[in-house]
Amino acid sequence: MHRTGELYGQFKTLEQQKDSANLGMWIFLVTEVMFFGGIMLVYTLNRHVYFPAFAMGSNTLSLKLGGINTLVLLASSFTMAMAVWSAQVGKKQLISMFLVLTVLLGFVFFGIKYVEYAQKFHHHLVPGRSFDIFYCSNHPDKCGDISAEEMEVERDLLNKTVALDPDLNAHAQLYYSAYFGMTGLHALHMIIGAGLLFWLLKNSLTGIYTPQWNTPVDTVGLYWHFVDIVWIYLFPLLYLIDRHK
Amino acid sequence: MQLPLPFFPEQASNFAGNVDTLFSFILLTCLFFSVLVTLLIILAALKYKRKTPGEVGSADRGNMALEVGWTVIPLVIALGMFAWGAAVYVNYRTAPKDTLDIYVVGKQWMWKLQQPNGRKEINELHVPVNRNIKLIMGSEDVIHDFYVPAFRVKMDVVPGRYNTMWFRPTKIGKYHFFCSQYCGTNHAIMGGWVTVMDPAEYAAWLSDEGGALNPVSAGEKLFSQLACNTCHLPNGTGRGPSLNGVYGGKASLADGSTIVADEAYIRESILQPKAKIVAGYQPVMPTFQGLVTEEQIMNLTAYIKSLQTQPVPTKGAGVVPAAAGKK
């Protein structure tokens, strides 16, 4: 359809166009809820059946890195909300500034996630043929990043868990499948979000977003907040199982 | 049931009558409504056929009483059907205490069954009449389903768990059972016969281990007694080639020639194993000349023939497999 200024040809008013975009994004987010819902269900049932293995798996994650990442992502949600606010009140420089901040925080998140993933690779905790939940306790020399006392705690926990679940390795692998599946999907959404943010940034530098027309900022904002919400659930589900031992 | 075109399968268990009665009830109800609606449509089509090209219908918009009526009445009938069906189902899922327990294992593509005294059968099930039978079923690979139409019972056989079902055969005879959950290539021929016997006959059959044992089962037993199964692993990783799909296939031999693996070849391979060595294998198999009787050879052959339908491993197969399913 042809486009007259900011208005696409199929719409009659800017109001209608903004309304449609907003509603469209919300409906899309509902499909995303159902999409993540499927894997949440898989996670929940397996966690219920293989609780000791899931608790074991969870305790091998770094709470420090996960916690910091949660705060980073929350902060990026805040800067995104501020970018939308800047657009609504017409502060054009601020839009770009907040978008840059949001992207930067997103990349901090990626950086920390990369560190976590790399660690799991080194520790043979990636599902597949070489998966071995006992790898670090059997090869402490290969897992230099785990301190001696941490290793002791982990060994102790492994022994206790094996007593409960003789098939621990297989079931811990299910935990890690869920971990990589869920955080991987989340990261994929973040990557798409980062791409959208770059696109917004490019446009905002030309100053086209005004209080009258800022639909893309608003819509991408909704998406970014949704990705944040997914992480709000992933953090306790994956990192906080049975931490009190 | 000698009608040229039968509509109901034979009734041979305690559930058959219940299921058929329920079926007939739903059928009659449905017939009533479909005939009613069809007649109404025909009536309307005749009575309200357009007479002039410009004619329009009435301004009728609806009727609240009718709407409520045709919502509530079908609802009540439907709930009746639900309750009746639920009663039959709960009965079917709740096995009585005094059952004769038979283990059933499904694997691609055969059924292995075991009687309470340990007697094993393949694709055959013998049960006494008028006894409560419970099948405890597991699968070695994919999902199968044990289905006896004459008994009106079926249950999926799911890997990783046991499913159970029960029935009480009420009529002596021989009935088909089928695999009714699609399970791969030979799903359609993964079936057999349930033989319902007089209790005394059943007891005799049960104790008559050797004589009446079918050749395939006897052969399978020998196959492990003689330790054949330690080298001829089904997955082709053993010291001898896998025997799955061997019968009827072309074997390529060490000397470069090929041979069709028929009964004679199997017999020769048991008695003179070094005569025709399959390409890629060492002549390590001892001869069984004088160690097995003719009948035992026959049983072994029958068992190896029964492996024809088993999945042929990509490596370690005894033969270039015959195209599956070709006659």
Partner: protein, 553 residues
């Protein structure tokens, strides 16, 4: 009526020319035609597999295929027909064409997303076609694990990925419809003045939006399991194949409503137009669509009564299954009541409409046998099920689709097809269909399991009947393909409102201009209100104004 109608000078088909103008179009009407060609292709691919199946089953020992080949045939028949024909057929072809026209909009809310949805469909289709020619697929269209993820030797991964991708095209279409119906209605087009076709598509879109993502993640996990050995559905690794079935049917049962709800919408239009009467109990028919969409999500585990799920869950799901039957029954009763007091003509679309009611009645009622726990034990996974869902999907969805194509063909192409050929085809289809599938009910009750490449000889008579019917059915499908194509180029010019009908789509030229309406229409009447539409030139007894413009039943 006095002057022969003329085609408009400029319309959406001749506005621009060339391949690019089609492949890069954002016009919903052209995208509808792109979909029409693609789904027709898949219909004939799936139909070819169906013919192979029926020919093969002529004799008990199998007639022309090996076991593996037969298994590939029925699997690919299912995949092609369900994911690539039935699900997109009415929504993406007729819905795409008509939703904006019927509500008085210039296009859908997101035309470029609409085009994207077609491309997504094509990419998915390419993956699936690749799997079909390169190893085939033999898992059954249900992809049950662990057969599909561990044991099958066929090309499962590309097929699963193809279906996964195509799901997103469905999501995008549903999203577009929902937003369009919410925000793009013409002035005066209030919710209760919407044609029932729109209500049906609204309900369908809700199902697409909420169900499809679940099958996407499920097939995603299954593909990961096949490719990388993830273990969620593999019992050998601690997973659970029953969980796969729950997730699969959470979408795939409501998917049945994606197929049948739009067909019901079409039938409402046909009955009203050819009985020249407002649909009896409009509000109830509209509400029934929504009720089916919602309750339809609560019944999925009735596909799993014999998997060993808990007795308690089976009771709950069976109960809800009987509830979902009620709104369908309400629709059938209302359609029948509409005929009374109407002025009925038997043009081809109406033949499909009446045929639909008959076949859907049988299809729907046989669902009761399967929803009832007691009888399901016996007929689950037999030919009874096969017959039941073909009555719903072929007798229901395809009859609705063909009825709709015949009804709107003059709108889409501006030209009329040969009426007597079309009536002939409708009758041939009806006869062929019943002969093919009715014997399968009996086969099922006699105990013949589905997906069998060979069968005991006592089942042969019914199989031969079925194969004979299938041959007639095949001819019935070829006929419309031929005369509709011919009519698109050489048919008599139809005029803007040949039937005549009341919808907004008939207020504009045939074929419509690219922007649909030169002047945005304003709606002051209810749907199917023949009495207040003097411009249709009908003989309204006692003049106009029988019903108030803002009435409630």
């Amino acid at each position: 009526m006095t002057m022969a109608p003329q085609l408009p000078e400029k319309h959406y088909l001749n506005e621009t020319y060339g391949i690019r103008s089609w492949l890069l179009t954002t016009d919903h009407k052209r995208i509808a035609l792109l979909y029409l060609f693609s789904v027709t292709l898949f219909f004939f691919i799936g139909g070819f597999f169906a013919m192979m199946i029926r020919l093969h089953l002529l004799t008990p020992s199998g007639y022309l295929l090996s076991a593996d080949a037969y298994n590939r045939m029925f699997t690919m028949h299912g995949v092609a027909m369900i994911f690539f024909f039935l699900i997109p057929s009415i929504p993406a072809v007729l819905g795409n064409f008509l939703v904006p026209l019927m509500i008085g909009a210039k296009d859908l809310a997101f035309p470029r997303i609409n085009l994207l949805s077609w491309y997504v469909y094509v990419v998915g289709a390419v993956f699936t076609l690749y799997s079909m020619v390169n190893g085939g697929l033999d898992t059954g269209w249900t992809f049950y694990t662990p057969l599909s993820t561990v044991y099958s030797n066929s090309a499962v991964a590309p097929a699963v990925v193809g279906v996964f991708i195509t799901g997103f095209s469905s999501i995008l279409t549903g999203l577009n419809f929902l937003v369009t119906i919410h925000t793009m209605r013409a002035p005066g087009m209030t919710w209760f003045r919407l044609p029932l076709f729109i209500w049906a598509h609204y309900a369908t879109s809700v199902v697409m939006i909420l169900g499809t993502p679940v099958i996407a993640i499920t097939l995603g996990l299954a593909a990961m399991e096949r490719l990388f050995g993830l273990g969620f559905f593999n019992p050998a690794l601690g997973g659970d194949p029953i969980l796969f079935q729950h997730l699969f049917w959470f979408y795939s049962h409501p998917a049945v409503y994606i197929m049948i709800l739009p067909a019901m919408g079409v039938i409402s239009e046909l009955i009203a137009t050819f009985a020249r009467k407002k649909i009896f109990g409009y509000h109830f028919v509209a509400a029934a669509s929504l009720a089916i969409a919602v309750i339809g999500f609560l019944v999925w585990a009735h596909h799993m009564f014999v998997t060993g799920q808990s007795t308690y869950a089976a009771l709950v799901f069976s109960f809800l299954t009987f509830l979902v039957a009620i709104p369908s029954a309400v629709k059938v009763f209302n359609w029948t009541a509409t005929l009374f007091g109407g002025s009925i003509s038997f043009d081809t679309p109406m033949l499909y409409g009446l045929g639909f009611i008959g076949l859907f009645l049988i299809g729907g009622l046989t669902g009761l046998f399967l929803g009832s726990l007691g009888t399901d034990i016996h007929i689950h996974d037999t030919y009874f099920v096969v017959a039941h869902f073909h009555y719903i999907m072929v007798g229901g969805a395809i009859m609705g689709y063909l009825g709709g194509l015949h009804f709107w063909w003059p709108k889409i192409t501006g030209r009329m097809y040969s009426e007597w050929l079309a009536r002939l085809a409708a009758v041939v289809l009806f006869v062929g269909f019943n002969l093919t599938f009715f014997p399968q009910f009996v086969l099922g009750y006699l105990g013949m399991p589905r997906r069998y490449h060979v069968y005991p000889p006592e089942f042969q008579v019914y199989n031969v009947m079925s194969t004979a019917g299938a041959s007639i059915l095949a001819i019935g499908y070829l006929l419309p393909m031929i005369y509709l194509t011919y009519a698109a180029f050489y048919g008599k010019v139809a005029g803007s409102n040949p039937w005549p009908a009341t919808g907004l789509e008939w207020q504009t030229a045939s074929p419509p201009p690219t922007e649909n309406f030169h002047v945005t229409p304003t709606v002051t009447w209810e749907a199917y209100d023949f009495h207040n539409r003097p411009e249709l030139g009908l003989e309204v007894p006692g003049g106009a104004a029988h019903a108030p413009a803002h009435g409630d039943d």
